[in-house]
């Protein structure tokens, strides 16, 4: 197992270099390239373009540009983000906490609810509770996020709920109401985007849990556990769930890079200052250094979590062996 992890890690190094080179060449060859933000000015001249090219080092051969970028990255310098007026590393570190908070709570909440729903549906297949959960899952999977987001804003922020003589309303967007940190305020701002993001995940993960749980329930060891006189809850949770979760763990691990990558649509609609918006803004402005930094970071995480998924698989299922 240890050897396997070492071997996979070593294999990942050339892979990451290759990914970074491909990203660099594609982004450089995109029309406009790093000069794009300057080009929409009606007064720009050919001499202006030549001067800006020289300043940004774009008049050097492409491989020289790549090697110089790579050299800087290996020394921990991801370059300067034009669209944030600060170094790329700093720009990413500023946005990371907001995204970790949003994606972390959302993934945690979805996992809790999604797995619970999956079990409930599987325990009594084709019952009312199964049909209800299945309907919810199909609804959740087919709902466009932007529509759902608008609806929850309307319901919970614009109209709100009046009950027990109080009017409850949540903030529609943003990360805080005041300029100073306040935990209650932060949680209120978090709720709507977190719920919207969780919707799809709950739908997907409950379906996975249900189908995998259904298979497990039919196995001999489950019947044995019941025959031993264990309570139904212990049978389902201790003997069933651990085995049923194996495919779910893989799916969850593969969506884990989103913890850092953020969610573009949700963050945009809810004005959440996270990584998804950092990326989409960099793309719109063609902020070359930031785009490269973000994409290479996410590529690294995808490679990493793929490896972790494989390791977790072997750990959960003794029948799986790597050497």
């Amino acid at each position: 197992m240890f050897n396997y992890v070492i071997r996979r890690s070593i294999q990942a190094i050339p892979l990451l270099f290759l990914i970074s080179a491909i990203l660099f060449f594609i982004l450089s060859k995109a029309p406009g390239g790093p000069l794009t933000p300057y080009l929409q000015n009606p007064h720009i001249t050919a001499a202006d373009i030549a001067r800006l090219k020289h300043n940004l080092g774009l008049d050097r051969p492409l491989y020289v540009q790549y090697l110089s970028w790579l050299g800087n990255v290996l020394r921990g310098d991801l370059g300067y983000s034009m669209s944030n007026s600060e170094p790329v590393v700093q720009a990413i570190l500023e946005r990371l906490p907001a995204t970790l908070l949003l994606m972390g709570t959302s993934i945690g909440f979805s996992l809790l609810i999604g797995v619970a729903f999956g079990i409930f549906a599987a325990v009594k297949p084709y019952s009312i509770q199964d049909y209800l959960i299945t309907t919810f899952a199909f609804f959740g999977q087919s709902m466009p996020v932007f529509w759902l987001a608008l609806m929850v804003q309307l319901a919970f922020a614009v109209y709100g709920v009046t009950a027990f003589g109080y009017h409850f309303a949540l903030p529609s967007a943003g990360i805080s109401s005041s300029d100073t940190f306040d935990l209650g305020d932060r949680v209120q701002h978090l709720l709507l985007p977190m719920l919207v993001l969780s919707f799809l995940n709950i739908a997907t993960w409950s379906r996975f849990t249900r189908s995998s749980m259904l298979e497990v329930i039919k196995t001999d060891y489950m019947r044995t556990a019941t025959a031993k006189g264990l309570s139904p809850l212990t049978v389902i949770l201790r003997h069933g769930l651990k085995n049923a979760l194996i495919p779910v763990v893989t799916i969850v691990a593969l969506s884990a890079p989103a913890l850092v990558a953020g969610a573009v649509v949700t963050e945009t609609i809810f004005a959440w200052p996270g990584m998804g918006r950092l990326f989409i803004n960099a793309l719109g402005q063609f902020d070359f250094a930031l785009l490269m930094g973000y994409l290479v970071l996410i590529s690294f995480l995808v490679v990493l979590f793929n490896l972790l998924a494989d390791v977790a698989y072997a750990w959960l299922d003794p029948r799986v062996k790597y050497d």
């Binding site: 029309p31 406009g32 390239g33 000069l35 794009t36 933000p37 300057y38 080009l39 929409q40 000015n41 009606p42 007064h43 720009i44 001249t45 050919a46 202006d48 373009i49 001067r51 800006l52 300043n55 940004l56 300067y80 034009m82 669209s83 944030n84 007026s85 600060e86 720009a91 500023e94 946005r95 907001a98 608008l150 309307l154 922020a157 614009v158 709100g160 109080y166 009017h167 409850f168 309303a169 949540l170 903030p171 529609s172 967007a173 943003g174 990360i175 109401s177 300029d179 209650g184 949680v187 209120q188 945009t268 609609i269 809810f270 004005a271 200052p273 996270g274 803004n281 719109g284 063609f286």
Partner: protein, 545 residues
């Protein structure tokens, strides 16, 4: 069992934590809170890239610069220059512009100070010009500033600017709108270039507000500058909240989480007008949404084909359907809101029969499928625009229908802005002339000078004349128009240029891009400028009853 109960308890605790707090968020007025100072929350769709105007590329950055910095002049709600740091706008009448038109003299307000307390002097103005001209700085364009030969300080507060030749647009130089806000020499002269310095996100200016904090992706917080030379503004704090979605902006106006925004969509106007306590304003900006016809490439190199396309369009119907009748219109390249549009010019009337007759005369005969051909060539044009802009798509379809009716086939191809506007060498669609008609908006400077995007001097790669229309007579008129300070003569010249545009239709302006602005009705004295900047008179804003 114990675990699931624990989870339930945790959920209940979360709800308990949140719900009591919920009741506090609904209160509408967040103004007048605390020590009696007023906070204004302004929503903005996009965020500045930099707070240093020397390296700026966005209109929004000029708008924010209006808060932090001062120009020598600023542009008022009629598009006219009014004093900012200078005590009087120079003219030949007041002696500020020399008889030969080559020297402009500015007298700075003697009490102007940087927000760190240092006085603003003539040296700062000269430093600003040097920074713009410094080839190491990533400045987009130096148009106008490159006409200056030398600058001299005459004492502390007078600066004399010498031009190569008489240059009428000089009056709009050194303004936020022309990326010429005055920069502090004492803080910046030590840098070889200004591209990557900490000042760009933590600036010091002389303007009415000082930046307190910039939380990237979330908000910019500005406090009234107590040292501001025209007196501290009445609104104690302005928060620019970044809300990157227009629907969310509308929602936040409804919930009064924001008090103002300037970038709503025309189709939201009815909804905004229904919000109690919110007043709306429509401002016509210096951006014109137009169709650029490629006058170099057949079939649109024939002016008669271009005119036929104009007669085929129904400008009123397009205006109503896609812009809901919002925004000013003028068919050429001068803004009717600035006073430079020739009021005698009109759109081509909707006359498809005349359009068809013109095409017949030009030899384009209808084929079996209804599309005209000439010498075996179909009358087919490619219309390009930016992807993702709903208004553009609606206009494109309207044009396609109108032109189909007179036997012209239109193929719509949209590209991301980065591809559409890239330089020719980078495979850009428009600047390499690889299109027949292009629909997009161009934002121009407040001066009527249009050499950068119209006529022979602006043909790519020397400018942004995307119609490639290069009539030498237009070039001569443009040169004379930047050399003369006589307003009547300038008007005659730009009227003549606009008549040439309407006659030969290198471009067809659909409308002047309107800003749909919404402000809390209690804020008085908001008078947005056609440059797209509402903060030019922010010191006069106050909260009414």
């Amino acid at each position: 069992m114990s675990r699931s109960r624990l989870a339930f308890t945790a959920c209940a605790a979360l709800v308990a934590l949140v719900v009591p707090a919920c009741t506090t968020t609904t209160a509408g007025g967040r103004t007048g809170r605390g020590s009696g100072s007023t906070v204004l929350h302004v929503g903005t769709l996009i965020e500045p890239n930099t707070l240093n105007p020397v390296g700026g590329t966005l209109v929004l950055e000029s708008r924010v610069a209006n808060l932090i910095y001062d120009g020598l002049i600023r542009v008022d709600d009629r598009g006219q220059p009014v004093p900012d740091l200078t005590t009087v706008v120079p003219s030949q009448a007041n002696g500020g512009i020399s008889r030969d038109g080559r020297t402009v003299t500015y007298h700075l307000a003697p009490n102007a100070r940087w927000s760190d307390g240092t006085p603003v002097t003539a040296r700062d103005v000269i430093f600003t010009w040097r920074a713009i001209m410094n080839p190491r700085n990533n400045v987009t364009t130096r148009v106008g500033y490159d006409q200056i030969t030398t600058m001299h300080a005459v004492g502390q507060h007078t600066v004399r600017v010498n031009f190569k030749e008489p240059y009428a647009p000089a009056i709009f130089l050194f303004a936020d709108e022309t990326r010429g806000a005055i920069m502090p020499e004492h803080l910046l002269s030590r840098y070889a270039d200004l591209n990557h310095i900490p000042f760009n996100r933590a600036p010091i200016g002389s303007g009415p507000y000082v930046l307190r904090e910039w939380r990237h992706g979330d908000r910019l917080i500005f406090d009234a500058n107590p040292l501001f030379f025209r007196g501290a503004p009445k609104i104690g704090r302005i928060e620019l909240r970044i809300v990157p979605d227009t629907n969310t902006e509308l929602t936040q106006l409804r919930t009064h989480e924001i008090d103002a925004t300037t970038d709503l969509d025309p189709n939201q106007l009815a909804a905004v007008r229904g919000i109690p306590g919110i007043a709306t304003r429509i401002v016509s900006t210096n951006g014109f949404r137009h169709v650029s016809f490629n006058t170099r490439r057949p079939p649109l190199n024939d002016p008669n084909v271009r005119r036929a396309l104009c007669y085929a369009m129904d400008p009123d119907s397009i205006y109503q359907k896609t812009y809901f009748g919002v925004g000013l219109r003028a068919p050429a390249d001068q803004n009717p809101g600035s006073g430079w549009a020739d009021p005698t010019l009109h759109y081509y009337p909707h006359d498809p029969a005349r359009a068809e007759a013109m095409l017949e005369r030009a030899g384009w005969i209808r084929g079996a499928d209804g599309i005209r051909t000439k010498n075996g060539r179909r009358l087919s044009i490619g219309l390009v625009s930016v992807t993702g802009a709903k208004a553009n798509e609606a206009i494109e379809v309207a044009l396609q229908d109108a032109w189909r009716a007179i036997g012209v086939e239109t193929t719509i191809k949209n590209f991301p802005g980065t591809t559409l506007f890239a330089p020719a060498a980078g495979g850009g669609i428009i600047l390499s002339g690889n299109f027949d008609a292009a629909l997009y908006s161009l934002f121009r400077d407040p001066d009527p000078n249009d050499m950068g995007f119209m006529g022979p001097n602006g043909v790519p790669p020397n400018g942004f004349n995307t119609s490639f229309y290069a009539d030498p007579l237009m070039g001569r008129l443009q040169v004379e128009a930047v050399r003369t300070f006589d307003l009547r003569r300038r008007h005659q010249l730009y009227d003549a240029i606009q008549r040439m545009i309407v006659r030969d239709v290198p471009i067809y302006t659909l409308l002047w891009v309107p800003l749909i602005e919404a402000y809390d009705a209690r804020i008085n004295n908001v008078k947005p400028s056609p440059t797209g900047i509402d903060f030019w008179n922010v010191t006069d804003w106050r909260m009414g009853g």
